[in-house]
């Protein structure tokens, strides 16, 4: 299992490695509610980290915080020893829980992102776009309006768009929540292939079977707090905290 930082392929030669991710005392308070509460966590190697926890635990907020989309009330986030910044965000991509697609065609949604990342020539860009669409099974929909795709197709397009960035860190927030089994398998295969290339994947899911299939390590959140962070095998075989045990047993987590 590619767990060491050294296995990270340098898609930007000469750039410092992104990992480890260090989160120290991360807190997000809104109206005196601590939505993320003094969270300290270190993700060392590449590989696939699954974040789990009941609804409202703060999983989506944690992704936004470490991707630098919201500013924490307190605490620090650094990637490879460098504090989170817009410059680092260029090397990351996120598939949101509710995908936001541009009011354009499926193809144009990918073209937009390829256009952001400098000149690779129109033909090369079109080829890359078609490859990406093919990978998520949407090549046949290229000319269609992105907003008329089904929910699951929209999520697949959002993933293809994220991959267009060639991210070194890929965040997925319940990216398979509305997908049929075949599409779910397709996404899982893509995600595993990305991990195989050395991309750090941080994956939020409620699907325990999926988490077992994908996870190298599991972060379990409850009410904005970090409850457990352990290798996947250990976590699933013997969750040490009552909230995680209740969650895995399908009981309501109090």
């Amino acid at each position: 299992m590619p767990h060491a930082a050294e296995t990270v392929t340098l898609r930007r030669p000469g750039a410092r490695p992104m990992l480890p991710l260090d989160i120290a005392g991360l807190t997000l308070a809104v109206d005196s509610r601590r939505l993320v509460d003094d969270l300290t966590l270190r993700l060392k190697g590449s590989g696939l980290t699954v974040i789990m926890g009941p609804n409202g635990a703060g999983k989506s907020l944690l992704l936004r915080l470490i991707h630098g989309l919201i500013r924490p009330t307190a605490g620090a986030i650094s990637w490879g020893g460098v504090p989170m910044s817009a410059g680092l965000r260029v090397r990351q991509a996120m598939v949101f829980q509710r995908p936001v697609l541009l009011r354009r065609s499926v193809a144009a949604n990918i073209d937009f992102v390829l256009g952001l990342r400098g000149a690779i020539g129109a033909r090369a860009a079109a080829e890359r776009r078609d490859r990406l669409l093919d990978r998520v099974g949407l090549l046949g929909h290229a000319r269609q309006s992105a907003r008329l795709l089904s929910g699951g197709e929209q999520q697949r397009l959002a993933l293809a768009r994220a991959l267009a960035v060639e991210p070194e860190v890929l965040f997925l927030d319940e990216a398979t929540a509305s997908l049929d089994p075949a599409s779910t398998q397709m996404i899982e295969e893509i995600v595993l292939a990305e991990r195989g290339r050395g991309t750090k994947v941080i994956f939020v899911t409620h699907d325990i079977g999926q988490a077992r299939r994908l996870a190298d390590d599991v972060v379990f959140l409850h009410r904005g707090r970090l409850v457990e962070h352990r290798p996947a095998r250990q976590f699933f075989d013997d969750p040490s905290s009552p909230p995680a045990r209740a969650y895995l047993d399908g009981r309501i987590v109090l």
Binding site: H67, V90, A93, F96, V100, L102, R103, L148
Partner: protein, 235 residues
């Protein structure tokens, strides 16, 4: 009552006849107001977009001011442009007073706040939707502005239409800076005002009907375009 019926009949035949003087007035109206709307959009859309996505000090007051400017009285705009373009005014040397150009300038000033204020509203909603995704992708501000304008184009057409409607229907500004000179600066609204005061109701009515027809046609066109956009879920 007889007068009115006669006037309507004469107006219809005039409107259908293709009378050269009549067509000249209609075309100048369209030229002036379409030019003013186009220039106002060129200036106003990027400004509206920048206000929509910007987070700068004074943004709130600026929005209030721009909204208030939507209601600028045409005669006041006409007066201000007149003072600038008159022989003694700072721009008098341009010799633009009583030309169609002066009329375009005045109408641009009238329409620009409408375009800025309404496009800001439209684009702010779209921005709220795109913002987080754009920040995740590190979309540069300039690119974001053009993407918002591009993707909001169907809603923005309605904005341009509102601006054009204001321009083509106003009389106060063009009559002051244009002077309603026959064959030179006479447009539909100024001609209607003049002919009505002279008692030539037929010509006034005919022009009024064309004005209405123009408004209807432009509205129908925009509605058609929006309907096709809605079918693609682009609105």
């Amino acid at each position: 009552m007889q007068d009115l019926a006669d006037a309507v009949r004469m107006a219809l035949s005039l409107a259908m006849s293709g009378d050269a003087g009549f067509i000249e007035i209609v075309l100048l109206s369209l030229r002036v107001s379409l030019s003013a709307t186009a220039i106002a959009c060129l200036i106003g859309l990027p400004l509206g977009a920048l206000i929509a996505i910007g987070r700068f000090a004074g943004r709130g007051p600026l929005i209030v001011i721009v909204n208030a400017l939507m209601g600028l009285p045409p005669v006041v705009v006409g007066l201000v442009v007149y003072l600038n373009f008159s022989r003694a005014g700072p721009l008098g040397w341009l010799g633009l007073l009583y030309t169609p150009t002066a009329m375009i300038v005045a109408q641009t000033i009238l329409v620009a706040p409408i375009v800025i204020a309404l496009s800001r509203q439209v684009l702010e909603d779209l921005h709220a939707e795109y913002d987080e995704q754009f920040r995740s992708l590190n979309v540069p501000r300039g690119t974001a502005v053009w993407a918002l304008i591009g993707d909001g184009r169907h809603a923005l057409m309605t904005v341009a239409l509102a601006g054009f409607g204001r321009a083509v229907a106003e009389v106060g500004a063009v009559i002051i800076v244009g002077g309603n000179i026959d064959h030179l600066t006479r447009v539909m609204t100024t001609a209607i005002a003049l002919e009505t005061s002279k008692g030539d109701l037929a010509l006034a009515l005919a022009l009024g009907m064309v004005l209405l027809a123009v408004a209807l046609a432009v509205n129908a066109l925009v509605m058609g375009l929006r309907a096709s956009a809605r079918r693609s879920a682009y609105v």
